[in-house]
């Protein structure tokens, strides 16, 4: 693995004004993420992990501190430049999938490419097909979200995150809506992608899920309380094999 820093966070603080009170959601968070890492950010609700996720995803800007994404200082960017950065550098995966209803899997995957004006129609199509291939759903390209299972929908969402070839996949409780078996399937896919060199930042509150990653950053009350390498990475494929066979599949 290279030593390229994908993320550099220096003393990130984020404060919200709620009426007369100032809520300090992040109280100085600093850590770096290197290319090829699979980081889980853990924390209970109220720990500030959602706020941190929004900042990492360039949806929000820190009140103070500096955040460099792939060498670009995000704090100085305008709303439109942030949008462009999200389009080029980040692939989002959400808990609720957020697929467009009544739209085929392929078209859902294509969506980020529409905001990338350099691509031709053919390129867009072929890249979307490649991404669907990568999540092993190529044969379901015509299916709409309502015709897909939860796990399949999440895989379409992952394909959508991959399609613009981002430097980082940012997952927000991506297994939160799924049962154990499907969660493990998704984690296996994430591990595969990580093996292929994708940097993954996975926000979750389940310790179970964190075991599959290479590093865990633990947040509590807006501060990093633990940042440890996972020496003993669990393989999601093996975990999947160890599950009792499902009756209804």
């Amino acid at each position: 693995m290279s030593n390229n820093k994908i993320l550099e966070l220096q003393q990130i603080k984020r404060e919200f004004v709620m009426g007369t009170e100032i809520v300090r959601a992040l109280k100085g968070v600093s850590f770096d993420v290197f290319a090829g890492e699979f980081v889980t950010i853990m924390g209970s609700s109220g720990s500030g992990k959602t706020t941190l996720l929004n900042i990492l995803g360039c949806l929000d800007k820190p009140t103070s501190g500096s955040y460099l994404l792939d060498g670009v200082n995000v704090s100085n960017l305008s709303r439109n430049e942030l949008a462009r950065l999200r389009n080029h550098k980040i692939g989002f995966v959400f808990q609720a999938y957020n697929l467009l209803p009544r739209t085929s899997a392929l078209e859902n995957v294509e969506l980020p490419l529409f905001y990338n004006p350099e691509l031709s129609v053919q390129e867009r199509r072929s890249r979307a097909m490649d991404a669907l291939q990568a999540v092993k759903l190529a044969e379901r390209e015509d299916h709409t979200p309502s015709q897909l299972s939860g796990g399949q929908q999440q895989r379409v969402a992952i394909a959508r995150a991959l399609v613009n070839q981002p430097v980082m996949i940012l997952a927000d409780e991506a297994t939160g809506n799924l049962d154990t078996r499907t969660s493990y399937e998704i984690m296996a896919l994430m591990q595969d992608l990580n093996q292929e060199g994708k940097t993954i930042v996975f926000v979750t509150h389940e310790p179970d899920i964190a075991a599959f990653s290479s590093r865990t950053v633990m947040l509590r009350d807006g501060k990093v309380v633990k940042d440890s390498k996972n020496e003993n990475i669990r393989s999601a494929k093996e975990a999947l094999a160890a599950l009792p066979p499902a009756e209804d599949y």
Binding site: L59, A83, A96, N98, T103, P112, F114, Y115
Partner: protein, 406 residues
């Protein structure tokens, strides 16, 4: 984002809600179709009134004798005799804006054929009278200048006279009728014109050369009136002025003298009638225009609902790289697609319903290009205007909140 991408995104979004898009469109479709159909009805009736008027001879000018003053006493009026063939010839020769002129020497009498008789009016006219009054010969021929020169005993009969003198349906052409003691050979019949707008039977008439009436019946050199037609409807006023000048000269009037004749045109009547139909058109268009505005409000309403309903979609689009302007344009283009497509369908429907109205109800309609262009432009504008505010509110959403919106 490129325009093609933008339109594709908007089209796909609309495709996901076909029924709703269609229902929204329906407001615009009905609005545009109503405007076009209503304007077509208004224009059609205006046109038909105008063509009726010009079939009466809308560029017709009537010259009548007027009163004169003799020693402080006003004498004459319409019975005053001041119009002679010299006036007719002077007008014919000098007036540039007059295309035809004919004197009228008229009298009343009892037309007799065999055992039948009928009281009617005999009008002595020049051959150009047929042009001026837009009279057409149904059967036979009209009389010529040669007949005028020789005061020939020939005549052309109107339909009412024919009905009364030749009730069995035989052709009157070639027969000889009598007017009082004067025998007149029928050389032609007039196409029926029906009642005039003043309730006068225009077919109860016998036309002969004016010389025949003047020399053989009335023994006079004067005319009751002179009819002329202006070169065009618009030239009526110039023609009137010209005729006035010419007649003042031929009548040797001093500048201080009043006119001893009067020149009248149909212009006032035309103005009144066309202003009535214009009012009708405006009224119909206004009602139809209201429905177009309501259609526009329908678009705005649906776009607002759509923005609220698709808040998460907007959040997602923003998170994967859509800028505010991209979201704004997407919703704006959706609104414009709805209104423009609705407009196109409305134009087709409007033209079709105008045709159907003509076919089923027999009302004259005239689909004017300006109404098509106008209603189309208005509905495209409606799309932009009513689509802008919802689109703007969509573009201003905070992506974080939009993504978490339930």
């Amino acid at each position: 984002m490129s325009a093609v991408n933008l339109i594709m995104i908007a089209l796909k979004a609309l495709q996901r809600n076909k029924l709703r898009a269609f229902l929204t469109m329906l407001g615009i479709i009905i609005g545009v179709a109503a405007v076009i159909a209503m304007v077509a009805i208004g224009q059609g009736s205006k046109e038909s009134i105008q063509s009726q008027l010009s079939s009466m001879g809308s560029n017709m000018i009537t010259i009548l004798p007027s009163s004169n003053v003799a020693g402080g006493v006003r004498i004459g009026g319409e019975s005053f005799q001041s119009l002679t063939i010299a006036d007719v010839l002077a007008i014919q020769k000098n007036a540039e804006y007059v295309s035809a002129v004919s004197p009228v020497a008229s009298t009343k009498g009892q037309a007799i054929y065999g055992a039948l008789n009928w009281p009617t009016s005999l009008q002595g006219v020049a051959p150009s009278y047929f042009d001026i009054r837009k009279l057409t010969i149904n059967e036979g021929i009209s009389f010529s200048d040669a007949d005028v020169a020789t005061a020939a005993k020939v005549c052309v009969l109107g339909q009412t006279v024919i009905n009364n003198l030749f009730p069995s349906g035989e052709s009157p052409v070639g027969k000889v009728i009598r007017l009082g003691s004067i025998p007149l050979q029928v050389i032609g019949t007039l196409a029926p014109k029906g009642q005039s707008s003043f309730g006068q039977d225009q077919d109860d008439i016998i036309l002969t050369p004016y010389t025949t009436v003047q020399k053989r019946i009335l023994a006079t050199i004067y005319f009751q009136s002179i009819y002329a037609s202006a070169v065009s409807e618009g030239a009526s006023e110039q023609a009137t002025n010209e005729i006035t000048d010419i007649l003042r000269t031929t009548h040797r009037l001093r500048p201080s003298d009043e006119n001893n004749f009067q020149v009248r045109t149909m212009e006032e009547l035309i103005k009144t009638l066309s202003s009535t139909t214009s009012l009708l058109t405006i009224l119909l268009t206004a009602i139809a225009g209201i429905s177009l505005v309501i259609g526009g409000i329908g678009i705005m309403n649906i776009m607002y609902v759509s923005v609220t309903e698709r808040t998460r979609e907007i959040g997602l689009r923003m998170s994967i790289g859509a800028r505010g302007i991209d979201i704004l344009l997407q919703f704006l283009v959706e609104a414009i697609i709805i209104s423009v497509t609705g407009g196109l369908i409305g134009v087709v429907l409007g033209i079709t319903s105008a045709k159907v109205i003509t076919l089923t109800l027999g009302w004259p309609t005239l689909v004017s290009e300006s109404s098509i262009v106008l209603s189309f432009v208005v509905c495209a504008f409606t799309g932009v205007f009513f689509g802008y505010y919802p689109a703007q509110s969509a573009s201003r959403l905070d992506p974080i909140e939009a993504l978490r919106y339930e």
